[in-house]
Protein backbone atom coordinates (compact mmCIF):
# COMPACT_ATOMS: atom_id res chain seq x y z
CA UNK A 1 0.00 0.00 0.00
CA UNK A 2 1.04 3.62 -0.47
CA UNK A 3 2.38 6.05 2.07
CA UNK A 4 0.65 7.61 5.03
CA UNK A 5 0.99 11.38 5.30
CA UNK A 6 0.47 13.30 8.52
CA UNK A 7 -0.06 17.05 8.51
CA UNK A 8 1.98 18.58 11.33
CA UNK A 9 0.03 20.95 13.56
CA UNK A 10 1.75 23.78 15.37
CA UNK A 11 0.69 27.02 16.96
CA UNK A 12 2.34 29.93 18.72
CA UNK A 13 5.81 28.42 18.58
CA UNK A 14 4.88 24.89 19.57
CA UNK A 15 4.53 21.67 17.67
CA UNK A 16 1.28 20.24 19.02
CA UNK A 17 1.23 16.79 20.61
CA UNK A 18 -1.55 15.53 18.37
CA UNK A 19 0.99 15.53 15.54
CA UNK A 20 3.13 12.93 17.30
CA UNK A 21 0.02 10.96 18.21
CA UNK A 22 -0.91 10.80 14.52
CA UNK A 23 2.62 9.78 13.55
CA UNK A 24 2.48 7.03 16.19
CA UNK A 25 -0.77 5.73 14.73
CA UNK A 26 0.53 6.09 11.17
CA UNK A 27 3.58 3.99 12.05
CA UNK A 28 1.37 1.27 13.54
CA UNK A 29 -0.79 1.19 10.40
CA UNK A 30 2.21 1.27 8.06
CA UNK A 31 3.63 -1.66 10.05
CA UNK A 32 0.65 -3.70 8.78
CA UNK A 33 0.24 -2.32 5.29
CA UNK A 34 3.76 -1.37 4.28
CA UNK A 35 4.50 2.10 2.99
CA UNK A 36 6.27 5.01 4.58
CA UNK A 37 5.19 7.47 7.24
CA UNK A 38 5.63 10.97 5.90
CA UNK A 39 5.27 14.13 7.99
CA UNK A 40 4.15 17.17 6.08
CA UNK A 41 4.94 20.52 7.68
CA UNK A 42 4.00 24.03 6.64
CA UNK A 43 5.47 26.89 8.64
CA UNK A 44 7.95 29.70 8.91
CA UNK A 45 11.37 29.15 10.52
CA UNK A 46 10.47 25.59 11.48
CA UNK A 47 13.72 23.67 10.96
CA UNK A 48 13.61 22.47 14.56
CA UNK A 49 10.08 21.06 14.07
CA UNK A 50 11.27 19.18 11.00
CA UNK A 51 14.03 17.59 13.06
CA UNK A 52 11.61 16.59 15.78
CA UNK A 53 9.19 15.10 13.23
CA UNK A 54 12.02 13.09 11.65
CA UNK A 55 12.31 11.16 14.93
CA UNK A 56 8.80 9.81 14.31
CA UNK A 57 8.67 9.46 10.53
CA UNK A 58 10.45 7.95 7.55
CA UNK A 59 10.41 11.20 5.68
CA UNK A 60 9.68 14.83 6.47
CA UNK A 61 8.59 17.16 3.69
CA UNK A 62 8.33 20.79 4.63
CA UNK A 63 7.62 24.23 3.33
CA UNK A 64 9.37 27.05 5.15
CA UNK A 65 7.89 30.35 4.14
CA UNK A 66 6.78 33.50 6.01
CA UNK A 67 3.36 33.05 4.37
CA UNK A 68 2.86 30.17 6.81
CA UNK A 69 3.88 32.02 9.95
CA UNK A 70 0.30 31.51 11.20
CA UNK A 71 -2.15 28.77 10.38
CA UNK A 72 -4.60 29.81 7.68
CA UNK A 73 -7.05 27.25 6.32
CA UNK A 74 -7.12 28.76 2.84
CA UNK A 75 -3.36 28.75 2.42
CA UNK A 76 -3.06 25.26 3.86
CA UNK A 77 -5.81 24.06 1.53
CA UNK A 78 -4.06 25.57 -1.50
CA UNK A 79 -0.81 23.82 -0.66
CA UNK A 80 -2.39 20.46 0.12
CA UNK A 81 -4.46 20.65 -3.05
CA UNK A 82 -1.20 21.01 -4.98
CA UNK A 83 0.79 18.42 -3.05
CA UNK A 84 -1.67 15.53 -2.67
CA UNK A 85 -2.27 14.86 -6.39
CA UNK A 86 1.48 14.98 -6.98
CA UNK A 87 2.71 12.86 -4.06
CA UNK A 88 -0.33 10.52 -4.10
CA UNK A 89 -0.38 9.27 -0.50
CA UNK A 90 -2.68 6.40 0.39
CA UNK A 91 -3.91 8.20 3.48
CA UNK A 92 -3.70 11.82 4.59
CA UNK A 93 -4.15 12.34 8.32
CA UNK A 94 -5.10 15.77 9.66
CA UNK A 95 -5.80 16.40 13.35
CA UNK A 96 -9.44 16.62 14.43
CA UNK A 97 -8.69 19.91 16.15
CA UNK A 98 -9.78 23.49 15.69
CA UNK A 99 -7.24 23.72 12.87
CA UNK A 100 -8.08 20.40 11.26
CA UNK A 101 -11.86 20.74 11.28
CA UNK A 102 -11.40 24.18 9.74
CA UNK A 103 -9.43 22.70 6.85
CA UNK A 104 -10.13 19.05 6.02
CA UNK A 105 -13.80 19.21 4.93
CA UNK A 106 -13.08 21.96 2.38
CA UNK A 107 -10.06 20.07 1.08
CA UNK A 108 -12.19 16.94 0.70
CA UNK A 109 -14.72 18.86 -1.40
CA UNK A 110 -12.09 20.54 -3.55
CA UNK A 111 -10.18 17.34 -4.39
CA UNK A 112 -13.22 15.03 -4.18
CA UNK A 113 -11.42 12.90 -1.59
CA UNK A 114 -13.05 10.09 0.35
CA UNK A 115 -13.23 11.77 3.76
CA UNK A 116 -14.01 10.44 7.23
CA UNK A 117 -13.91 12.90 10.16
CA UNK A 118 -13.14 12.36 13.84
CA UNK A 119 -11.48 8.96 13.52
CA UNK A 120 -10.34 7.44 16.83
CA UNK A 121 -8.51 4.40 15.48
CA UNK A 122 -7.57 2.81 12.17
CA UNK A 123 -7.97 -0.93 11.77
CA UNK A 124 -6.57 -2.85 8.82
CA UNK A 125 -8.60 -5.74 7.42
CA UNK A 126 -7.50 -7.63 4.32
CA UNK A 127 -5.11 -4.82 3.49
CA UNK A 128 -7.94 -2.25 3.61
CA UNK A 129 -8.13 0.68 6.00
CA UNK A 130 -11.11 0.59 8.34
CA UNK A 131 -11.37 3.83 10.29
CA UNK A 132 -13.20 3.59 13.59
CA UNK A 133 -15.47 6.40 14.74
CA UNK A 134 -17.89 7.12 17.54
CA UNK A 135 -21.46 8.33 17.36
CA UNK A 136 -23.78 9.65 20.06
CA UNK A 137 -20.90 11.06 22.07
CA UNK A 138 -19.14 7.79 22.61
CA UNK A 139 -22.13 5.50 23.11
CA UNK A 140 -21.83 3.76 19.75
CA UNK A 141 -18.78 2.77 17.72
CA UNK A 142 -18.91 2.89 13.94
CA UNK A 143 -16.69 0.96 11.54
CA UNK A 144 -16.13 2.80 8.30
CA UNK A 145 -14.41 2.01 5.03
CA UNK A 146 -13.35 4.02 2.03
CA UNK A 147 -14.67 3.65 -1.49
CA UNK A 148 -13.08 5.10 -4.58
CA UNK A 149 -9.43 5.86 -5.07
CA UNK A 150 -6.81 7.28 -2.67
CA UNK A 151 -5.70 9.65 -1.33
CA UNK A 152 -8.09 8.97 1.52
CA UNK A 153 -8.55 11.75 4.04
CA UNK A 154 -9.30 11.55 7.73
CA UNK A 155 -9.26 13.86 10.69
CA UNK A 156 -7.86 12.03 13.72
CA UNK A 157 -9.04 12.69 17.25
CA UNK A 158 -6.63 14.16 19.79
CA UNK A 159 -5.52 12.19 22.84
CA UNK A 160 -6.73 8.88 21.37
CA UNK A 161 -3.44 7.14 22.10
CA UNK A 162 -0.09 7.50 23.82
CA UNK A 163 2.77 8.93 21.80
CA UNK A 164 5.24 6.19 20.85
CA UNK A 165 9.00 6.27 21.19
CA UNK A 166 11.14 8.44 18.96
CA UNK A 167 12.90 5.62 17.14
CA UNK A 168 13.09 6.85 13.56
CA UNK A 169 15.60 8.98 11.74
CA UNK A 170 13.65 10.10 8.72
CA UNK A 171 15.05 12.06 5.83
CA UNK A 172 14.22 15.75 5.72
CA UNK A 173 13.35 17.49 2.50
CA UNK A 174 12.56 21.17 2.19
CA UNK A 175 10.36 21.89 -0.81
CA UNK A 176 9.42 25.10 -2.51
CA UNK A 177 6.04 26.46 -1.53
CA UNK A 178 3.37 25.73 -4.13
CA UNK A 179 1.77 28.98 -2.91
CA UNK A 180 3.59 31.84 -4.61
CA UNK A 181 1.70 34.80 -3.21
CA UNK A 182 -0.54 35.58 -0.30
CA UNK A 183 -4.22 34.93 -0.69
CA UNK A 184 -6.33 37.15 1.40
CA UNK A 185 -9.99 36.18 1.58
CA UNK A 186 -9.36 35.33 5.17
CA UNK A 187 -6.78 37.23 7.18
CA UNK A 188 -5.20 36.31 10.49
CA UNK A 189 -5.32 39.24 12.89
CA UNK A 190 -4.20 38.10 16.33
CA UNK A 191 -4.41 35.60 19.14
CA UNK A 192 -6.33 36.53 22.23
CA UNK A 193 -5.13 34.61 25.27
CA UNK A 194 -7.51 32.93 27.67
CA UNK A 195 -8.74 35.10 30.48
CA UNK A 196 -7.03 34.61 33.82
CA UNK A 197 -9.28 34.02 36.78
CA UNK A 198 -8.84 34.15 40.53
CA UNK A 199 -7.94 30.46 40.76
CA UNK A 200 -5.58 28.53 38.51
CA UNK A 201 -7.29 25.14 38.38
CA UNK A 202 -4.23 23.53 36.76
CA UNK A 203 -2.55 23.94 40.16
CA UNK A 204 -5.47 22.68 42.27
CA UNK A 205 -4.97 19.54 44.34
CA UNK A 206 -8.64 18.71 44.59
CA UNK A 207 -11.24 19.63 41.99
CA UNK A 208 -15.00 19.33 42.12
CA UNK A 209 -16.23 19.42 38.52
CA UNK A 210 -19.76 20.34 37.50
CA UNK A 211 -21.61 19.23 34.38
CA UNK A 212 -24.95 19.52 32.67
CA UNK A 213 -26.49 17.19 35.26
CA UNK A 214 -26.65 19.95 37.84
CA UNK A 215 -29.36 21.40 35.58
CA UNK A 216 -29.74 24.95 36.93
CA UNK A 217 -27.73 27.77 38.43
CA UNK A 218 -29.80 27.58 41.59
CA UNK A 219 -28.41 24.08 42.25
CA UNK A 220 -24.82 25.29 42.31
CA UNK A 221 -24.71 25.66 46.13
CA UNK A 222 -24.86 21.84 46.32
CA UNK A 223 -21.45 21.54 44.66
CA UNK A 224 -20.09 24.70 46.24
CA UNK A 225 -20.74 23.21 49.67
CA UNK A 226 -19.06 19.95 48.72
CA UNK A 227 -16.05 21.86 47.39
CA UNK A 228 -15.87 23.91 50.59
CA UNK A 229 -15.98 20.77 52.75
CA UNK A 230 -13.09 19.29 50.77
CA UNK A 231 -11.18 22.60 50.42
CA UNK A 232 -11.44 21.93 46.70
CA UNK A 233 -11.69 24.31 43.77
CA UNK A 234 -14.64 24.25 41.40
CA UNK A 235 -14.35 23.60 37.69
CA UNK A 236 -16.67 22.33 35.00
CA UNK A 237 -17.39 20.79 31.65
CA UNK A 238 -18.22 22.86 28.57
CA UNK A 239 -21.96 22.70 29.34
CA UNK A 240 -21.56 24.35 32.73
CA UNK A 241 -19.44 27.16 31.27
CA UNK A 242 -21.81 27.71 28.31
CA UNK A 243 -24.68 27.96 30.78
CA UNK A 244 -22.80 30.64 32.71
CA UNK A 245 -22.61 28.71 35.99
CA UNK A 246 -18.83 29.07 36.04
CA UNK A 247 -16.32 31.39 34.37
CA UNK A 248 -14.29 30.39 31.31
CA UNK A 249 -11.12 30.05 33.37
CA UNK A 250 -12.77 27.08 35.11
CA UNK A 251 -13.37 25.01 31.98
CA UNK A 252 -11.71 21.60 31.84
CA UNK A 253 -11.18 19.97 28.45
CA UNK A 254 -9.56 20.52 25.08
CA UNK A 255 -10.94 24.03 24.68
CA UNK A 256 -10.23 24.82 28.32
CA UNK A 257 -7.58 23.55 30.69
CA UNK A 258 -5.83 20.26 31.23
CA UNK A 259 -5.76 19.41 34.91
CA UNK A 260 -3.91 16.77 36.93
CA UNK A 261 -5.16 17.05 40.51
CA UNK A 262 -4.81 14.41 43.22
CA UNK A 263 -8.58 14.02 43.24
CA UNK A 264 -11.18 14.92 40.60
CA UNK A 265 -14.85 14.55 41.45
CA UNK A 266 -17.04 14.75 38.33
CA UNK A 267 -20.65 15.56 39.14
CA UNK A 268 -23.29 15.20 36.45
CA UNK A 269 -20.68 15.08 33.71
CA UNK A 270 -21.27 12.53 30.96
CA UNK A 271 -17.67 12.71 29.74
CA UNK A 272 -17.45 13.89 26.14
CA UNK A 273 -13.99 13.06 24.75
CA UNK A 274 -13.09 16.75 24.83
CA UNK A 275 -13.66 16.72 28.58
CA UNK A 276 -11.93 13.39 29.25
CA UNK A 277 -8.83 14.64 27.43
CA UNK A 278 -8.57 17.44 29.97
CA UNK A 279 -8.89 15.41 33.17
CA UNK A 280 -7.83 11.82 32.66
CA UNK A 281 -4.41 12.60 34.08
CA UNK A 282 -5.93 13.08 37.55
CA UNK A 283 -4.53 10.70 40.15
CA UNK A 284 -7.96 9.61 41.39
CA UNK A 285 -11.29 10.18 39.68
CA UNK A 286 -14.76 9.89 41.16
CA UNK A 287 -17.84 10.13 38.97
CA UNK A 288 -21.42 10.67 40.06
CA UNK A 289 -23.90 10.37 37.20
CA UNK A 290 -27.28 8.75 36.75
CA UNK A 291 -26.44 7.25 33.34
CA UNK A 292 -24.52 3.99 33.83
CA UNK A 293 -23.33 4.19 30.20
CA UNK A 294 -21.82 7.66 30.59
CA UNK A 295 -18.26 7.60 29.18
CA UNK A 296 -16.99 9.35 32.35
CA UNK A 297 -17.10 5.95 34.09
CA UNK A 298 -14.39 4.62 31.75
CA UNK A 299 -11.93 6.97 33.44
CA UNK A 300 -13.28 6.79 36.98
CA UNK A 301 -11.80 4.89 39.92
CA UNK A 302 -15.00 5.13 41.95
CA UNK A 303 -18.48 5.68 40.65
CA UNK A 304 -21.98 6.30 41.89
CA UNK A 305 -24.78 5.69 39.41
CA UNK A 306 -27.65 7.66 40.87
CA UNK A 307 -29.52 10.92 41.07
CA UNK A 308 -26.87 13.43 42.16
CA UNK A 309 -29.45 15.51 44.01
CA UNK A 310 -30.09 12.57 46.33
CA UNK A 311 -26.39 11.82 46.83
CA UNK A 312 -24.69 15.18 47.20
CA UNK A 313 -26.26 16.59 50.40
CA UNK A 314 -25.43 13.44 52.35
CA UNK A 315 -21.97 13.21 50.81
CA UNK A 316 -21.13 16.75 51.90
CA UNK A 317 -22.59 16.22 55.36
CA UNK A 318 -20.64 12.99 55.89
CA UNK A 319 -17.37 14.48 54.65
CA UNK A 320 -17.75 17.39 57.05
CA UNK A 321 -18.43 14.97 59.88
CA UNK A 322 -15.46 12.72 59.08
CA UNK A 323 -13.11 15.65 58.70
CA UNK A 324 -14.33 17.02 62.03
Amino acid sequence: MGNIYVLAEHRQGELREVTLEMLTKAAAVAGQTGGEVVALLLGSAVDSYAEKLAEYSDRVIYVDDPLFAEYNSEKYQKVLAAILPEYKPELMMIAHTTQGVDLAPALAVELKLPFIPDVIDINVEGGKLKPLRQYYQGKVNANFSFKGEPPYLITFREASLEIGEATKKGSIEKIESPLKEDIAYRRFLEYVEAEVGDVDITQSEILVAVGRGIKEDKNMPLVEELAAALKADLCGSRASIDAGWLGHDRQVGTSGKTVKPKLYIAIGISGAFQHLAGMKGAKAIIAINKDPDAPIFTEADFGIVDDLFKVLPKLTEKIKELKG
Binding site: D102, Q134, Y135, F144, G256, I286, V311
Partner: protein, 262 residues
Protein backbone atom coordinates in the same frame (compact mmCIF):
# COMPACT_ATOMS: atom_id res chain seq x y z
CA UNK B 1 -27.60 41.47 6.03
CA UNK B 2 -29.12 38.32 4.61
CA UNK B 3 -28.40 35.18 6.55
CA UNK B 4 -29.02 31.50 6.06
CA UNK B 5 -28.88 29.36 9.18
CA UNK B 6 -28.67 25.58 8.88
CA UNK B 7 -30.25 23.45 11.57
CA UNK B 8 -30.47 19.74 12.33
CA UNK B 9 -32.83 17.77 14.50
CA UNK B 10 -30.93 15.37 16.74
CA UNK B 11 -31.77 12.99 19.58
CA UNK B 12 -30.75 13.75 23.13
CA UNK B 13 -28.85 10.60 24.05
CA UNK B 14 -27.05 12.02 27.08
CA UNK B 15 -29.02 9.84 29.49
CA UNK B 16 -30.60 7.42 27.01
CA UNK B 17 -29.80 3.78 26.48
CA UNK B 18 -28.59 3.44 22.90
CA UNK B 19 -29.14 0.15 21.06
CA UNK B 20 -28.08 -0.80 17.55
CA UNK B 21 -31.07 -1.75 15.38
CA UNK B 22 -31.49 -4.88 13.26
CA UNK B 23 -29.85 -3.31 10.21
CA UNK B 24 -26.63 -2.97 12.20
CA UNK B 25 -26.18 0.49 10.69
CA UNK B 26 -28.63 2.51 12.71
CA UNK B 27 -29.85 2.83 16.27
CA UNK B 28 -33.28 2.27 17.75
CA UNK B 29 -34.44 5.85 18.15
CA UNK B 30 -38.05 5.09 19.13
CA UNK B 31 -37.49 6.15 22.75
CA UNK B 32 -35.30 9.18 22.12
CA UNK B 33 -36.45 12.74 22.58
CA UNK B 34 -35.40 15.00 19.73
CA UNK B 35 -34.73 18.70 19.48
CA UNK B 36 -32.62 21.21 17.62
CA UNK B 37 -28.92 20.41 17.77
CA UNK B 38 -27.31 22.38 20.58
CA UNK B 39 -24.74 24.31 18.52
CA UNK B 40 -27.39 25.02 15.85
CA UNK B 41 -29.55 26.62 18.51
CA UNK B 42 -26.70 29.05 19.22
CA UNK B 43 -26.34 29.63 15.46
CA UNK B 44 -30.04 30.55 15.25
CA UNK B 45 -29.63 33.02 18.11
CA UNK B 46 -26.55 34.55 16.50
CA UNK B 47 -28.52 34.98 13.26
CA UNK B 48 -31.28 36.80 15.18
CA UNK B 49 -28.77 39.07 16.94
CA UNK B 50 -27.16 39.96 13.59
CA UNK B 51 -30.54 40.63 12.01
CA UNK B 52 -31.54 42.86 14.91
CA UNK B 53 -28.29 44.80 14.62
CA UNK B 54 -27.95 45.02 10.87
CA UNK B 55 -31.40 44.45 9.39
CA UNK B 56 -32.04 42.01 6.55
CA UNK B 57 -33.59 38.59 6.76
CA UNK B 58 -32.91 35.14 8.13
CA UNK B 59 -33.77 31.97 6.27
CA UNK B 60 -33.70 28.62 8.00
CA UNK B 61 -32.44 25.58 6.08
CA UNK B 62 -32.88 22.02 7.22
CA UNK B 63 -32.52 18.59 5.68
CA UNK B 64 -34.99 16.35 7.41
CA UNK B 65 -38.41 14.81 7.59
CA UNK B 66 -41.66 16.44 8.68
CA UNK B 67 -40.68 15.72 12.28
CA UNK B 68 -38.30 18.68 12.01
CA UNK B 69 -41.10 21.18 11.39
CA UNK B 70 -41.71 21.96 15.06
CA UNK B 71 -38.05 22.84 15.48
CA UNK B 72 -38.03 24.91 12.28
CA UNK B 73 -41.17 26.81 13.38
CA UNK B 74 -39.41 27.61 16.67
CA UNK B 75 -36.56 29.23 14.75
CA UNK B 76 -39.13 31.18 12.74
CA UNK B 77 -40.85 32.20 15.97
CA UNK B 78 -37.59 33.66 17.23
CA UNK B 79 -37.43 35.93 14.18
CA UNK B 80 -36.60 33.80 11.16
CA UNK B 81 -38.36 35.00 8.00
CA UNK B 82 -38.81 31.81 6.03
CA UNK B 83 -37.58 28.26 5.88
CA UNK B 84 -36.61 25.54 3.45
CA UNK B 85 -36.81 21.91 4.43
CA UNK B 86 -35.22 19.40 2.10
CA UNK B 87 -37.08 16.16 2.57
CA UNK B 88 -35.74 13.33 0.48
CA UNK B 89 -34.97 9.79 1.64
CA UNK B 90 -32.36 9.44 -1.09
CA UNK B 91 -29.95 11.78 0.73
CA UNK B 92 -27.07 9.87 2.33
CA UNK B 93 -27.00 11.44 5.77
CA UNK B 94 -23.83 9.55 6.75
CA UNK B 95 -21.60 11.52 4.39
CA UNK B 96 -20.92 15.15 5.41
CA UNK B 97 -19.62 16.02 1.94
CA UNK B 98 -22.85 14.86 0.32
CA UNK B 99 -24.93 16.62 2.97
CA UNK B 100 -23.02 19.84 2.25
CA UNK B 101 -23.87 19.44 -1.44
CA UNK B 102 -27.58 19.22 -0.59
CA UNK B 103 -27.55 22.28 1.67
CA UNK B 104 -25.47 24.23 -0.86
CA UNK B 105 -28.08 23.57 -3.55
CA UNK B 106 -30.72 25.21 -1.35
CA UNK B 107 -28.58 28.34 -0.89
CA UNK B 108 -26.70 28.68 -4.19
CA UNK B 109 -27.91 31.41 -6.48
CA UNK B 110 -29.63 33.29 -3.68
CA UNK B 111 -28.28 36.48 -2.19
CA UNK B 112 -26.60 36.03 1.13
CA UNK B 113 -23.98 37.66 3.32
CA UNK B 114 -23.56 34.91 5.89
CA UNK B 115 -24.36 31.26 6.30
CA UNK B 116 -24.32 30.09 9.92
CA UNK B 117 -24.24 26.49 11.07
CA UNK B 118 -23.54 24.84 14.39
CA UNK B 119 -19.92 23.70 14.61
CA UNK B 120 -20.88 20.15 15.55
CA UNK B 121 -23.93 17.90 15.55
CA UNK B 122 -24.28 15.99 18.78
CA UNK B 123 -25.34 12.75 17.07
CA UNK B 124 -22.63 12.13 14.47
CA UNK B 125 -20.02 14.60 15.76
CA UNK B 126 -18.71 15.19 12.23
CA UNK B 127 -17.77 18.88 12.60
CA UNK B 128 -17.56 18.90 8.84
CA UNK B 129 -20.73 19.99 7.06
CA UNK B 130 -20.35 23.75 7.55
CA UNK B 131 -16.79 23.92 6.23
CA UNK B 132 -17.61 21.60 3.31
CA UNK B 133 -20.62 23.81 2.59
CA UNK B 134 -18.38 26.88 2.33
CA UNK B 135 -16.26 25.12 -0.28
CA UNK B 136 -19.38 24.08 -2.22
CA UNK B 137 -20.54 27.71 -2.18
CA UNK B 138 -17.06 28.99 -3.07
CA UNK B 139 -16.87 31.42 -0.15
CA UNK B 140 -14.46 31.82 2.80
CA UNK B 141 -15.23 30.20 6.13
CA UNK B 142 -14.24 30.11 9.76
CA UNK B 143 -14.98 27.17 12.03
CA UNK B 144 -15.74 27.08 15.78
CA UNK B 145 -16.53 30.72 16.23
CA UNK B 146 -17.20 32.20 19.66
CA UNK B 147 -17.70 35.87 18.71
CA UNK B 148 -18.89 37.60 15.52
CA UNK B 149 -18.37 41.25 14.63
CA UNK B 150 -20.05 41.91 11.30
CA UNK B 151 -19.25 44.90 9.12
CA UNK B 152 -20.83 45.73 5.78
CA UNK B 153 -18.49 43.82 3.52
CA UNK B 154 -16.28 42.10 6.09
CA UNK B 155 -16.74 40.04 9.19
CA UNK B 156 -14.34 39.66 12.10
CA UNK B 157 -14.65 36.43 14.04
CA UNK B 158 -13.02 34.91 17.09
CA UNK B 159 -12.31 31.21 16.62
CA UNK B 160 -12.11 29.25 19.85
CA UNK B 161 -8.91 27.21 19.85
CA UNK B 162 -7.62 24.61 22.29
CA UNK B 163 -6.60 25.86 25.71
CA UNK B 164 -9.01 28.79 25.70
CA UNK B 165 -7.02 30.83 23.18
CA UNK B 166 -8.95 32.69 20.49
CA UNK B 167 -7.73 33.23 16.95
CA UNK B 168 -9.11 36.42 15.47
CA UNK B 169 -9.55 36.39 11.70
CA UNK B 170 -11.25 38.69 9.24
CA UNK B 171 -13.06 37.53 6.11
CA UNK B 172 -14.69 39.14 3.12
CA UNK B 173 -18.42 38.57 2.83
CA UNK B 174 -20.18 36.43 1.88
CA UNK B 175 -18.82 33.76 4.20
CA UNK B 176 -19.75 30.67 6.19
CA UNK B 177 -19.29 30.60 9.96
CA UNK B 178 -19.68 27.53 12.15
CA UNK B 179 -20.86 28.57 15.58
CA UNK B 180 -19.52 27.17 18.85
CA UNK B 181 -21.81 26.69 21.86
CA UNK B 182 -21.70 29.40 24.52
CA UNK B 183 -21.37 32.27 21.99
CA UNK B 184 -24.64 33.85 23.19
CA UNK B 185 -27.69 33.10 25.30
CA UNK B 186 -30.32 31.48 23.09
CA UNK B 187 -33.71 33.08 23.67
CA UNK B 188 -36.98 31.33 24.16
CA UNK B 189 -39.49 31.85 21.38
CA UNK B 190 -42.02 34.53 22.39
CA UNK B 191 -45.69 33.50 22.37
CA UNK B 192 -46.53 36.12 19.75
CA UNK B 193 -43.66 34.85 17.59
CA UNK B 194 -44.95 31.30 17.83
CA UNK B 195 -48.33 32.43 16.48
CA UNK B 196 -46.71 34.42 13.67
CA UNK B 197 -44.41 31.54 12.78
CA UNK B 198 -47.39 29.44 11.69
CA UNK B 199 -48.00 31.86 8.84
CA UNK B 200 -44.41 32.09 7.65
CA UNK B 201 -43.31 30.30 4.54
CA UNK B 202 -41.84 26.83 4.99
CA UNK B 203 -41.05 25.28 1.61
CA UNK B 204 -40.61 21.55 1.47
CA UNK B 205 -38.40 20.54 -1.41
CA UNK B 206 -37.16 17.35 -3.02
CA UNK B 207 -33.71 16.94 -4.52
CA UNK B 208 -35.25 17.34 -7.99
CA UNK B 209 -36.65 20.75 -6.98
CA UNK B 210 -33.11 21.82 -6.10
CA UNK B 211 -31.64 20.55 -9.33
CA UNK B 212 -29.56 17.98 -7.47
CA UNK B 213 -29.20 14.59 -9.14
CA UNK B 214 -30.26 12.15 -6.41
CA UNK B 215 -27.49 9.72 -7.36
CA UNK B 216 -24.88 12.42 -6.61
CA UNK B 217 -25.87 12.59 -2.96
CA UNK B 218 -26.89 8.98 -2.43
CA UNK B 219 -25.19 6.10 -0.69
CA UNK B 220 -24.08 4.44 -3.95
CA UNK B 221 -21.86 7.33 -5.02
CA UNK B 222 -20.58 8.20 -1.57
CA UNK B 223 -16.82 7.76 -1.25
CA UNK B 224 -17.19 6.41 2.28
CA UNK B 225 -19.24 3.57 3.72
CA UNK B 226 -20.58 2.89 7.19
CA UNK B 227 -19.96 -0.83 7.65
CA UNK B 228 -21.58 -1.42 11.00
CA UNK B 229 -22.34 0.05 14.40
CA UNK B 230 -21.70 -1.65 17.69
CA UNK B 231 -21.89 -0.77 21.35
CA UNK B 232 -18.34 -0.49 22.67
CA UNK B 233 -17.42 -2.57 25.66
CA UNK B 234 -16.99 -0.17 28.51
CA UNK B 235 -13.52 -0.75 29.81
CA UNK B 236 -14.26 0.63 33.22
CA UNK B 237 -12.02 -0.02 36.15
CA UNK B 238 -14.37 1.98 38.31
CA UNK B 239 -15.57 0.49 41.55
CA UNK B 240 -19.29 1.23 41.41
CA UNK B 241 -20.71 1.86 44.86
CA UNK B 242 -24.05 0.14 45.45
CA UNK B 243 -26.90 0.82 47.84
CA UNK B 244 -29.52 3.48 48.48
CA UNK B 245 -28.47 7.02 47.51
CA UNK B 246 -27.61 8.06 51.06
CA UNK B 247 -25.78 4.81 51.76
CA UNK B 248 -23.70 5.33 48.65
CA UNK B 249 -22.90 8.86 49.78
CA UNK B 250 -21.67 7.63 53.16
CA UNK B 251 -19.48 4.91 51.62
CA UNK B 252 -18.01 7.38 49.16
CA UNK B 253 -17.34 9.97 51.88
CA UNK B 254 -15.43 7.34 53.84
CA UNK B 255 -13.39 6.36 50.80
CA UNK B 256 -12.54 9.99 50.16
CA UNK B 257 -11.62 10.99 53.69
CA UNK B 258 -10.20 7.74 55.06
CA UNK B 259 -9.09 6.10 51.81
CA UNK B 260 -6.15 8.37 51.20
CA UNK B 261 -7.69 10.27 48.31
CA UNK B 262 -7.14 13.68 49.89
Amino acid sequence: MNIFVCVKRVPDTSEAIVKVDDSGKGVDSSKFSFDINEADNYAVEEAMLLKEAKGGNVQVVCAGTQDADVMIRMALAKGGDSAIRIDDPRINVIDPVQMAKVLAAAIKGKEFDLVLTGCMANDDGNMAVGVALAEELGVPHAAMVKKVEAGDDKVKVYRELEGGVSEVVEMDLPAVITIQTGINEPRYAPIRGIRQAQKKELSVLKLDDLGVAPEDVGEDTSLIALENLYIPEVESKAEIIEGEPEEKAVILAEKIVKGGLL
